[in-house]
Subunit: 142 residues, 2 copies
Amino acid sequence: MAEQDWRERLRSRGYRLTPQREMVLRAVDELGHATPDEVLGKVREQSSAINISTVYRTLEVLEELGLVRHAHLSDRAPTYHSISDHEHFHLVCRNCQKVVSVDPDVLKPLTDRLEADGFVADVGHLTVFGHCTTCPPTEESS
Amino acid sequence: MAEQDWRERLRSRGYRLTPQREMVLRAVDELGHATPDEVLGKVREQSSAINISTVYRTLEVLEELGLVRHAHLSDRAPTYHSISDHEHFHLVCRNCQKVVSVDPDVLKPLTDRLEADGFVADVGHLTVFGHCTTCPPTEESS
DNA sequence: TTAGTTGCAAATATTTTGCAACCGC
DNA sequence: GCGGTTGCAAAATATTTGCAACTAA
């Protein structure tokens, strides 16, 4: 997404352009996939201080504007990622914890089928848990 | 799953058969999909008291034994369901909140493709968010 | 008897909220 | 200056853990 774009998108909806929002968006971009807490850490590491509640509120705004998205890559906290990447869904290996981003095309057969049955899938939010065949399955992955 | 089966499965792994475990398993069966807190409520409603931490610990054991599974049907708490049902995955509509259980066959094209790429999906844990075409999309669902 | 379980309270972890001070436009 | 934002602390939620008492086998 172009530099200009997100500034404009904030303004056009009556939101203000603040340094905190700029920092959070940059942090999400740089981190790839990050929890609110990790975003907080990244922002503090790079620049000035920012409060955790501001991070939560900012991520909410940015998601509403379609600038970031979140997915659940663990059974714990959600992770946010930038939309400047192409839309994608995630695979998470319960053995090696590796996260792989996959092109939505792979989902086409599924989404087509679901749509025929009256359901439009939110591909960007989807996370498929499982395990890599190169990872020996453990008790945990059962 | 047969009555006998789960008792045996507990014992064979060195676990004890306690009234709490029996009550939790029954509650999950009867509730369909339920959060730990809802399971607590159901157990208390039907029989005697039980502690919330026991519910958490019991669900963990039951899941390890393959007697229940959990999925994330909201951005909040996980929901547990019995395995006496056939394996299935879930669709969740962000508009009407309706949860639909879907046969794994529908996922075949996807899982085959992923397996070809070296990833075995955990179908039972999968939840697809989106919206019913019969639900008018709202801001929330964007 | 004895090792696994439970209840309870306290500790963690995560997210939300009220509100006064602050600042982008 | 006005109204949206932020920081801070406290509240609300959700989950985990230590440990003594309890109990299934």
